[in-house]
Point group: C2
Chain length 340, copies 2
């Protein structure tokens, strides 16, 4: 049986009991020392012995055991899906992550593709996070919110385009993007405006409200809005461009800068002059837009936050009773360049 020294398979993970044994103290003492517990006085020699034992064994505390005993964790769960990208989300995400870590939270992303909204919520709840921050593009239902709250989440925050009953909503109302783009085009005399609708999955939480915002803006001016389905492939763009005259459009809001780049190229290749014949507006104000010729007009977005998001979340965690907050943080402004 024991012919092979199969060490690697069965080295057991050191526990605080191992540390205690090696240091010749009790587990309680180990806990006190390693957590710098101030309510109890431990002599300096003992402290050193404990620390050395821990180091020697390569002891790493077991987060699950700790939070089980504590009855709560400091884990903030960030469901992640198909990345919406864009400078805004990228910035927001980095900022949030760094801020929460500074406040001593453990930030964990949980990939949630291929799960239904409530399956996902249950999976998140199993981890007993103290807070869940749902980014745009991930669906959270009221029921999902209830599941999370019932399993101890002190704050459930959605950053998506739509608020969810029961959850805090730091909403980024995507309709503004559409209306800013269209208002800009109207001001420049356009009246027949296409709105690109990406056919890739996971885009509709953005594209639908943007279309709605475009419609709202056009309505007031008596202008015409027409959805333009587009896949993010040259072929698809070429087809749309070939059909362009039939659509009778004099402008297009292209969802974002990337789709705008794709479509503008196809239009130009098809002999449609930009902006002379058709104006093009993107969104995100990403660098590529400025590198195109003509330079791409775009809708720039930023967030109206009075204080860092991480602090807001911390506050919500500390005041779990508070009624759901509902703020629209998204600010948009059309940036005129050369393509419109």
């Amino acid at each position: 049986m024991s012919q092979l020294p199969k060490q690697p398979t069965e080295v057991s993970v050191p526990t605080s009991a191992d540390v205690a044994r090696l240091a010749g103290v009790s587990r309680a003492t180990v806990s006190y020392v390693l957590n710098n517990n101030a309510t109890v006085r431990i002599s300096e020699p003992t402290r050193r012995r404990v620390r050395e034992a821990a180091l020697q064994l390569g002891y790493v505390p077991h987060a699950a055991a700790r939070s089980l005993r504590a009855g709560h964790s400091r884990m903030v769960l960030l469901p992640s899906g198909h990345i919406p990208a864009g400078p805004l989300h990228h910035y927001l995400f980095e900022e949030l992550q760094a801020g929460l870590r500074r406040l001593d939270y453990t930030v964990v992303q949980y990939g949630s593709v291929g799960l239904t909204a409530d399956e996902a919520a249950t999976a998140w709840a199993e981890l007993r996070p103290v807070a869940v921050v749902v980014p745009p593009g991930i669906t959270l239902t009221p029921h999902g919110t209830a599941i999370l709250t019932r399993s101890g989440a002190k704050a459930v925050i959605t950053l998506g385009p739509e608020p969810v009953p029961g959850a805090h909503g730091l909403v980024m109302d995507q309709r503004r993007v559409g209306s800013s783009a269209v208002e800009h085009l109207l001001a420049r005399g356009r009246r027949h405006i296409g709105v690109v609708m990406p056919q890739e999955p996971g885009r509709s939480p953005f594209s639908e409200p943007r279309l709605a915002g475009a419609r709202r803006a056009a309505e007031q001016a008596g202008a015409r809005i027409r959805p333009v389905p587009l896949r993010f492939e040259e072929e698809s763009a070429a087809q749309v461009a070939a059909d362009w005259e039939r659509l009778g459009l004099d402008a297009v809001f292209a969802y974002n800068d990337e789709y705008a780049m794709l479509l503008m190229r196809a239009l130009q290749d098809a002999g449609i002059a930009v902006p002379a014949h058709t104006a093009v507006v993107g969104a995100d104000d990403s660098l590529i837009g400025r590198l195109l010729r003509p330079r791409l007009s775009t809708v720039r977005m930023d967030l109206a936050m009075t204080r860092p998001l991480a602090e807001t979340i911390d506050r919500m965690v500390q005041h779990p009773g508070a009624p759901p907050v509902r703020h629209d943080l998204l600010r948009t402004v059309a940036v005129h360049r050369e393509s419109s």
Copy 2:
């Protein structure tokens, strides 16, 4: 005291004991039923009572308690940092995530920016993951590997440009990217080749090996390589372009398609003809390259995997004793378009 019905603050989380009580059975029975334990026979009426009780209470099992008892988890930890983006990494990531979930692993990303390599490894180890998959751009040291292994990780895999002693290495040797690009340029008669070095943080694990690969390829042909520092901003690109004649280059490998786009625009605006005067090659074969004029030559990357990555990882988890695997998975091929 109880004037306010401050329910929300103090509803306690339902446990399996609560379910047992409501169903009028023991906790053991609850566990059997909810886990469909096959080694024990529970009557159908009892099963139903348990399930209903669980549903009614909104019971969600406590993952930490479960894995504490089990002595192991099925959590695969994916440290995440500054996103390298690129279609390859995006695809790899999605694929990995979906595949692991299908094999019943819990995939969790842990943001690791702003931590030293060993701090990060310790933080990961506290979660007691069964496997850790370190993507390119995140540093893992041999010591970090030891920490993880000692705390029970059955497989530590690095996907980075460099393998790490002690860990499995599904390496993506970035030098190939540089040499493919330079070989292509050499074949087209170029001899004085610039290599763009992005100045953004987190790029050097990619850019340095790419430069090394470029050097290696040039050496054999007696060609000259010159690093070209570039920030991802128009201003920086304009400065580089203004200085271009002095550099005396007839070609440039621009790190990737995005930097290539930036630089090519700046060169064109400065009156440098592409490719007549200077050839430009990117990397990633992203769509934007095909939309540029001239169309951007690029280095396409893909992975030489005989089986899905998730399955490979699963196998490693199941055979913890096995010696570290070391494979170079990256395949590169230069794609000639119009810019070179």
